[in-house]
């Protein structure tokens, strides 16, 4: 279990250990930063590999700067411990982040902390142990939205929409999305065309995006 809040790990433990003590023998290693986590992962890959990894996204980065988040850590874990099930637990519920994590890690479990209750955590745990993936309702929602749209927006476009919705001005977008201003303008126009609201202003664009569930 990797989380920088001991309280959260405490919560996980309380939930999992209290209920499953009779069915499963659970041994838990904990790490509160990327360095420790990585060291544990490496160690277990050489000895007894972990069956399951609880990874938080927001983590203090490793001291050498190569691992900056749970996302990076998960990638390493998939390489080092190909058989272990990765469960992502995060406070972030923004569409583009969900999208990103799904695409990059494809975790066995994806839980949004704010949705999470102990019973859900248990449900997820049991499902994953049995080899079934489990996603939080929010993540499933995201899936549904992606499916119902005839088209999909790529990560960059979603980011653009997201930042616009936060009130960032178009000309400041290059600071948030790694694209040039002209590229961003082009993408915005593409999105508008996809929404068939060409020539509409940003206000309209955001309204439409909200309606379609991209934000």
């Amino acid at each position: 279990m990797i989380d920088d809040h001991p309280m959260i790990i405490e919560g996980y433990k309380n939930t999992l250990l209290g209920e499953n003590q009779k069915e499963y023998q659970i041994k838990i290693d904990i790490a509160s930063n990327c360095d420790d986590a990585y060291a544990n992962i490496v160690k277990s890959s050489e000895t007894v590999p972990y069956d399951m990894l609880f990874i938080d996204i927001k983590l203090p980065p490793s001291s050498d700067g190569t691992i900056t988040s749970g996302e990076d850590l998960a990638k390493h874990a998939k390489e080092l411990l190909p058989k272990s099930k990765v469960i992502i637990l995060t406070m972030h519920r923004e569409d583009h982040r969900i999208h990103n994590i799904l695409k990059n890690i494809n975790p066995a479990g994806f839980l949004i902390k704010s949705d999470l209750t102990s019973s859900e955590l248990l449900l997820a745990f049991n499902n994953i142990v049995k080899g079934k993936a489990y996603y939080s309702a929010t993540v499933n929602d995201h899936f549904r939205k992606m499916m119902t749209n005839k088209f999909s927006l790529d990560e960059k476009n979603l980011k653009i929409l997201y930042h616009l919705s936060r009130g960032v001005k178009t000309k400041n977008l290059p600071n948030y999305v790694s694209l040039s201003l002209s590229a961003i303008e082009k993408r915005k126009n593409q999105i508008k065309e996809m929404f068939s609201i060409a020539k509409a202003d940003d206000q309209k664009l955001l309204e439409e995006a909200r309606k379609r569930g991209f934000i």
């Binding site: 919560g11 209290g18 209920e19 927001k58 406070m91 704010s114 209750t117 102990s118």
Partner: protein, 681 residues
Amino acid sequence: MFRFLLRFIIIILLLFQIGCDNLDKEVKNEELKSNLIQSHIDEARNKKNSDEERKNNLEKAYGIYSTLIDNTYKIEKIQEISFVYFELKDYDNYRIMNEKALKLSKSINDSLNIAESHTYLGLYYKASRLDLAYENFYEAEEIYSSLYNKQNGSEGHAFDRGKVLTDLALILRKIKNYSESESLTIKAIENFELAKNNLYIPLCYTNLGIIAKYTEFYDKAIEYHKKAIEYAKGTEAEVLQILTSYNNIGTTYKSQKKYDKAKEYYNKALTYTDFLSKNPKRRARLIDNLAYVNFLSNDTSNIPDLFFKALKIRDSIGDKYGIATNKLHLAEYYKSIGEDSISRMYAYQSKDLSLELQKNEELLKTYQVLSKVSDSKEGLEYANEYIKLNDSLVKEERLFRDKFARIRFETDEIVEQNQQISRENEILIIAILGLTALFLLGYIIFRQQQSNKELLFAQTQQESNEEIYRLFINQQIKLEEGRQLEQQRMSEELHDGVLGRLFGVRLSLDGINQRANDEFTDSRNKYIEELKAIEKEIRLISHDLGAETLPSDVAYIDAVENLIKDLCEVHKLEFEFNNDEDIDWEEIDDQKKVNFFRILQESMQNIFKHAHADSIKINFDYVEDKINLTILDDGIGFRENKVKKGIGLKNITSRVSQMSGVVKFLSEVNSGTTVSVSVPV
């Protein structure tokens, strides 16, 4: 009142009418007078009338003239009258007229007529008063020569000047100032040639010939006389000139003692019998001269018959000058043949005539003859008389020369004084002009510097304005940044710290709750749900805090809003402020921002001071690349044309024009005021 005005206007009109009538009458009078004068002059010219009548006419003409205003026309007419007097041989009136003309010319500064009047007066004095004649001619010459200089050598009045010069030369010859006479004659010839008028050139050459004879350049004298004939060739005066010149050539040869040549020329002259028969005086002179040469060359064959022949002609025409000379010649002749008593008789007669005519040269010779033909006592007396006369003549000549020199000197002095004055005037004018130019230059430079200073001042003020603004904005931005940083920090703290721990707590509680199967599970679940709700709220707050709620360019608008808010709070006014999101304040230069800021300040000051408003509305709108600032109040307003612009409005106007924008102040009494500023981006 109205009636009075009407009456007044009528009176003025009437007066005007009368004035016009007067003017008309005057003009008519003038015409009438000049016609009358002309008829009087014509009448006076008419030789059929008696002299008395003609003079009467002239007097009448002049009587009318004296009533006319002074102008050139009047002067010319007076001169015309003087000519008629001359014709009538009334020389005193001729002089009086010309003196009047001179005075008039001087009073209206008509230099040409001054010169002419001097010339005419000189002609009058030529016979009687050589000094006055000389003075007048000299003054005329001075004027002509100054006119000549002014006209840069054009012919102008060359002919008139030539005549005056000729007269001067003749006078000078008379007083035996030959060298000067010669140079003036040459000058006269030059002028005549310049004027292309040869009328008087023969006269000039004759004069030169006579002078040359006196100065004993005989060959030259003969040459001059021949030249005189040449110039007269083809003119009416040809024969007359030939006779004069032959006579003069003869006399020259006589002086040279070439008697044969002299006789030849006298005889040649005497062949013009037709002309001479009409001119007995000339004929007599030629005969007399011929006889005298014969006498001198001891060719006594025709003598004294020729002398008597001449004397007879002269007696018949009463030529007193000729008779005096003739009788002197006879006295000399009789003296030479020893007939002293006859000689003495002729000499006496000649002496008396010469005395009467003041013919000093003849008189001198008469005395000479008398001193020799009289007995010793009487002879001595005459000899003394001779010496006395000779002395007095020499003295007189010297006196004349001195006088002429003085005249010249005085005239020159006046001219010089005039020149001096005009030179001084010139210097004065140049000095004044120079000073004025200098002053102007100084003033311009001063103004330039002043305006430069003003410009510099305005520039530094602008710079300092911008500087103040930058500092102000920087302050604002820093404040904003600090706030944002703080918000970010709070957002993260909430999200990662508080929220995480809360989540952990909730999860733990939930876990424990699941296991503790007692009757409180449901109620605990309710609180756990509540915790979840709190989490959500905190997350939302965190999200809001973390978002870029205040972009950096909001700083300016923030400053503006703060200004409005602060001022309105102090003055207890409601306000509404709208800023068009389309205005990209970051792109707008600082000068404009400062100007907008100050315009707002100024306008709000006006509103607080004068408008008594309850609320104001301020808008920044973006329309077609222009920023429109509208400041609206619900105060008492003002009548646009009644209020003269105060310094506040002037400042606003100047600021707007600095940004090449337009400002409008719209107001109606009791319906508020709108200040609308439109400035291109």
